[in-house]
Symmetry: D2
C-alpha cells in the first residue's frame, strides 16, 4: 500500500491517522527487556504481575482488582460479561467503540443487547439513560444493567468529574453498574487535570477498561474492578474469553511502566499539546476551523478534497465524514512540532488554491 | 510465593515447570525492537505483517492464509469457530488442551460439544474417530465436523507423518475437517526431522494453530488455513473473538523471527536434546526410569515425595499424577546442560537415601 | 387481576387487547382431536406431520421446506440462526418483534447484532437497507446478511407485493437474505387479496416465520424455507434451539387445519372486517379518529384517559403511547359485531363528557 | 414409512417404541377444551395459569416457583442457564438426555461444559461427583456448579429417596446445585411409592424439570424452583430461551390435569404394571430374560434378529444395542394387556424356531 510505504522509505514518518499506529515508548521497551530474564511462572502467578498489580492499586486504590489482557475489545467485552447475564442490556453511546467498532463481540460473547443513544459528542447523560429504563420488569424486554461510558470519547471529548458522578449516582440508584471504556483515559485525565483514581474510583465507577496500547505500549490493556465482589469470577471469564496470556509478565510490566514516573501523564500531556498546536495552526488557515471542540488528542476539521489528497502524500489520516470532507487528526506521544507544522504547511499551501 | 522468588534472588534460575515460564529469545527481542520505528497501520494492514505473512507462506505454502493472534487458546477456539456451526461436534483427545485446559472456551464461543477420546498418549487414531460417527444425520445428536489433533501432545509425544495422513484421509472421506493444535509443533518437527510444511500442509491438514509463545516468543500465535476458502470469514471471527491486536506488527515480527534462519529448529533441537540428556541422567538413578517415551521436550518420571521436595528448592516443576508421584519435566530453549545435571545431581542425592 | 377476572365471571367476554388472548377455533380443536388416536412416531416422523407438510407445500410451493415449532419467537430466532454466523447483522425495523419484544433472543442465540431502522409504520424500504451497508468488508463491523420484514407490521400495516419484490431484489443483489416475520401474515394476505404463496414465495422471500397462534390455533408456528439449501441444517438448529416437539403431530395438524377449506382466510377476513367496523364506529365519535391507517385487524386511536378507564371495565385493551393516550385495539377471529358496537357505545358515552 | 403406516391402517395399534408416541389422555383433552373459552391474557398472566400454579404448589410445596414450557429440552437447558454462568460445568451421567439426546443445546445456550460419568444404570453417585471436583479454583478449568440427575433414568431405573438425599447433601456442602430431569418422574414415584413432593422438595433438590408429554399430555413441561431466589431471572431466561408460550393457558391446564384426581399416579401405575407383565411374559420364553432390572415402564431384553423382524411387523420398538440385539420396550398409559400378550405371543412363536 503506497500510503504505508511512506513510513518505511528510509525516513519513517509519523501519521495523524490513529493512536494505534504509533510505536512503543522507549521506557516501555526498557520495562519489557528488564522482565525478560530467567523463568517466571506463567498465567500471572509471577513476580512482575504482582508488582504491576501493586502499582495499579497505588494509583487506583488498594481495594481495586486489576486483570491484564491483550486487547481493548477483550477488556470491554469481558467487562460486560462480568457484569451481565444474557437477558440484560448495556446502555451506551451509538458511536461507542463497544457498539460500532468491535464486530458485535459483546452481543456474541455476553449475549446481551446494546441499547444505544445517538450523540454527536460521544457523551451520554442521565436523561438518556432514564429514557431507556421504561421496560423494567417486563419479561419481553432485555433489562438494562450496565451503563458504559467512553472517556475520552471517540471524538476526543471528556465527561467532567461532576458528570461522571451524576451518572454513577443515578445508575446505582437504578440498579445499574457503570463501566468506563478508558482506552483513552489518559488524555482525558491530562486534559482535565484529574488523576486516574479521581476520574474512576472517586466518581463511583464500578469497572474500568484501562487502555495502554493507544498510548505508547506494545500491546497491553487491563480491566479494573472497583468493587472486588464483581471480580469474583473474572479469572475464569478472562480465560474462557481467550485473554489469559501465558507470559503475563510481559503485559504486566508494560502497564507498570505507564504508571512509573508518571509516564502516562508526560505522554498524554504531549499528545494533547500537539493537538492544541495543530488546532491553532489550522485556525490560521482560512476555512480550516476545527469542526469540534479540541479537548484531548483529536482534531476534527473540514479539509477540501484536493488538500486531503495532497497532504496525504506525506501524512496519513482518515476522512471521518466523506460527505462533508470532515477529517480526523490524531496526535500521539511521538508527534513532533515539526509534524504538526509540516502538516499545517501542506494544508496552507493547498487550501484556497 | 517462595518458589517463584527463587527466580529473582539475584541468580535467576531455570525451571522445568513449563515452556510458558521461559523468557523470549534475543533474536525475537531484536525483531520487536527493529519493528518499533515510526508509525505503521494498525490491525494488520502494515508492512511488517505483510512481511511475516510472506514468510509463513514460504514455510507453509503459498496458498495458506495466516492470521496472527495473541493467545493459544484464542487460536484453538477461533479455529473451531471458523470450522463449525454450533450443532457440530469436535473430536479430540480427552487430555487435549482444547478440552482440559481452556476453561470451556470452545463450548462457550463456538457453542459446540467436544467428543473426547480417552488416551494415555494424547494421540487418537482413525478407529477412535470412527467410533464417534454413529449418530450422523440424527437431529438429536451433535454432528462431528472437526478432528483436532495435538502435535506434540501434552505428553510430548508425536503423531508420525503417516498417522497424520491416515487421519486426514479418513476425516476428509467422512466430511470432517482436521485441525492441529501446534502449540508445540516445533519440537515435534525437530524430533521427527520433518519440516513444518511437511507436517501440516503435506499431510492434508485443513487448519493449524501455530504456536510460538511456548518456544521463545514474548507472546504471539497464529492460525493458518491451508484451504483458503475456510478463511473467508476469519478476519471477522478474529475481531469478534477479541483477538485482533491493534499494533499487529509486534505479533507479526515475533513469528517472522521464529522462521528466520531456522530459529525454531535451533531452539526446538536444543530443548529436545536437553530432554534426552535429562532422561539419560535419570535412567542412571535407580528407580527413576522415565514413565513415558521421551520424544520431544518432556520427561515424565516417578520421583519419591521427599526427593520432589528437595529438588524443588532449586528447580520448579509440577507433579502430574500425585497418586504415583509422577512428575512432568519440561525443557526449553534456554535449558542448560548445567540445569539438567544440577537437577540430576539433586535427584541422585535424595533418591534412595 | 381485576381485568382478567372479567373473562371468567360466568360471561366470558372478548378483549381488544391482543390476538394472543383469543381461544382456538373449533376447526383447529377438531383437527387436534382427530390426531389423538393411537401411537404416532415422535419428533415429526409421523403421518400427520407428513400430511401437514404436504398441505403447506400445496400452498407455498412444492419445493419449500416447512418445519413446525412451538413459539413465534422460536421461529424468528431460529430463522436468524439458520441464515447467519455471529459476525453477521440483521436489518429490521426498530419496532420489529425480533428487536423489541423477544428479550434479546436473537442476540443471545444467533450472536448477531440487529441494525434497526426507526419507522412509524413498521415498514422499511430499500433506502433504509442501503444506508446500513456502508461497512461491508470491514473487519471491525458486523456484516449485514439478513433483512427481516414484518407482514403485517405491529401497527397492522402491510407491505405491498411490489414493495416486497423490490426489497427482495435489492437484497439479493447485495448478498442479503430476506426473512419475513409472518406472525400476522394472514390478515395482510386477506387485506391485500393476495394468496400466502404470492406474498412470500413469489416475491422472492427466502425464509418465512409462519404464524398461527395469533389466528386461532392453540399454539403452533412454522418456519418455511423457500430455498431448500438454506434448510440443510435446520433440523439440528430446531432441536438445539429447544423447539423440537416430541408429539409433533399436535403442532402439525393445527397448521394443517388453518389451510384446510381456507380457514385462515375466513378468520382473517373476519378480523379485518371487525377492525374496519370498529374504525368506522370510532370515526363517528368526535375526537376519536383513528391515528393510523387501518389495513388489517388493528385500530390505533387516541382515547381520553377517563374513557379508557371506563371502557376497560368491560373490554381489555392496551395503551400504546401513554403520553398521547393512543390505544391499540386488536380484533380477532372471534370478535363479534356486538363486541365492536359495545365498545363504541361505551366510548361514545364517555368521550366528550 | 411402513412401520408407521401400521398405526393408521384402520386399526390403530400401540407401540413399545417410546412414551412420546402415545396419544394424550382424555382427561387432558377435556382440560384443554374447558380452557378454550373466551379471551385470556397471554404469556401466563391468566386465570388458568394461576390455577395450575396453585395446583403445583399444592403438590410440590407452597414456596416452589413453577414455570410452564413447551419442550423437555427447553426445561433442561433453561434450568442449566438459570443455575450457571458459562465458566461453570454440569455433572451428569454420560447417557443423560441432557448430554446425549439434546443436540448440544446446553453447551450452546448456557455455554457450559458437561462433565460426564460413564454408567450402565444412568445413576451417578457421590463418589462420581467427588471425582470431578479436583480442579476447583483453577482458572484453566470449568467449575462444577450443578449436578443433574435423571429420575427415572433412560434405563427406567430409579434413585432411592436416600440416594437423592445423600447426593443433595454432598452437593450443597460443595457449593453445587442439584437439578433433576424429571421427564419420567411419575413412573419413578409410582414405582417407589413416593409422592412427587417427597421425591423432589423433600430430598433437597434445587430445581426440577417436570415432564408431562411422556405421560399423556399433548405437550407441556415445567421447570420448578424449590428455592425461589433461583427463579429470580427465569421469566427472562424462558422468554429469551424461546419457551414463553403466548397462549400459556393451554400448557398450564394440561399440567393441572395431570395432578387432578391423581391422574399422574393412575397413568404411571398402569404403565409400570404393563412393564412388569411384559417382563414376566418374556421371562417365560427361553432366552428372553430381561437384561436389566425392570423398575418402571421400560423393559430391556435381548431378542434374536429374526424375532425382532417378525414382531416389528406389528409392534414398533427400538433396538438399543445392535451388537447384542438388546431391545428397549416402553409401556405407557395406553398400553393394554392385549398389547403385552400379543407381543409375547409373537416373540414366543419366533424365538427358538
Amino acid at each position: 500500500m503506497k500510503i504505508d510505504n511512506l513510513v518505511h522509505d528510509g525516513v519513517p514518518r509519523n501519521h495523524f491517522a490513529s493512536d494505534n499506529n504509533s510505536p512503543a515508548h522507549p521506557e516501555v521497551i526498557e520495562a519489557v527487556l528488564s522482565a525478560n530474564q530467567g523463568h517466571a511462572l506463567a498465567y500471572g502467578d509471577d513476580y512482575f504481575t504482582e508488582r504491576a498489580t501493586a502499582k495499579l492499586r497505588e494509583v487506583f486504590g488498594s481495594s481495586c482488582e486489576p486483570f491484564f489482557l491483550s486487547t481493548g475489545t477483550g477488556a470491554n467485552v469481558l467487562s460486560m460479561a462480568a457484569l451481565t447475564r444474557s437477558h440484560h442490556a448495556v446502555i451506551c453511546a451509538e458511536n461507542a467503540h463497544l457498539n460500532g467498532a468491535e464486530c458485535g463481540a459483546t452481543e456474541k460473547f455476553a449475549g446481551v443487547k446494546l441499547l444505544t443513544v445517538p450523540t454527536r459528542t460521544g457523551r451520554i447523560g442521565v436523561e438518556d439513560i432514564q429514557a431507556l429504563l421504561g421496560n423494567s420488569g417486563d419479561q419481553h424486554h432485555v433489562q438494562p444493567r450496565v451503563v458504559s461510558l467512553t472517556q475520552a470519547t471517540d471524538f476526543g471529548l471528556c465527561y467532567s468529574v461532576e458528570e461522571l458522578r451524576r451518572i454513577c449516582d443515578f445508575a446505582h440508584e437504578n440498579g445499574l453498574y457503570v463501566h468506563m471504556d478508558g482506552a483513552r483515559l489518559y488524555t482525558a485525565c491530562a486534559a482535565l487535570g484529574v488523576s486516574p483514581g479521581e476520574m474512576t474510583r472517586d466518581t463511583g465507577l464500578d469497572v474500568l477498561s484501562l487502555g495502554g496500547t493507544k498510548l505508547g505500549l506494545l500491546g497491553a490493556e487491563a480491566v479494573l474492578f472497583f468493587r472486588p465482589e464483581l471480580a469474583a469470577d473474572f479469572a475464569y471469564i478472562r480465560k474462557q474469553g481467550m485473554q489469559l496470556a501465558s507470559k503475563m509478565r510481559f503485559l504486566a510490566v508494560q502497564m507498570e511502566a505507564l504508571f512509573t514516573n508518571d509516564l502516562w501523564l508526560r505522554l498524554a500531556d504531549h499528545a494533547n499539546a500537539m493537538a492544541r498546536l495543530l488546532a491553532d495552526e489550522l485556525r490560521e488557515i482560512p476555512g480550516l476551523e476545527p469542526t469540534r471542540e479540541v479537548q484531548t488528542n483529536m482534531v476534527y476539521a473540514t479539509i477540501p478534497p484536493q488538500a486531503v489528497e495532497h497532504i496525504r502524500q506525506r501524512y496519513l489520516f482518515y476522512v471521518f465524514d466523506a460527505k462533508r470532507w470532515e477529517v480526523r487528526l490524531v496526535t500521539n506521544h511521538d508527534t513532533t512540532e515539526e509534524d504538526v507544522r509540516g502538516f499545517a504547511e501542506m494544508a496552507r499551501k493547498t487550501v484556497g488554491q
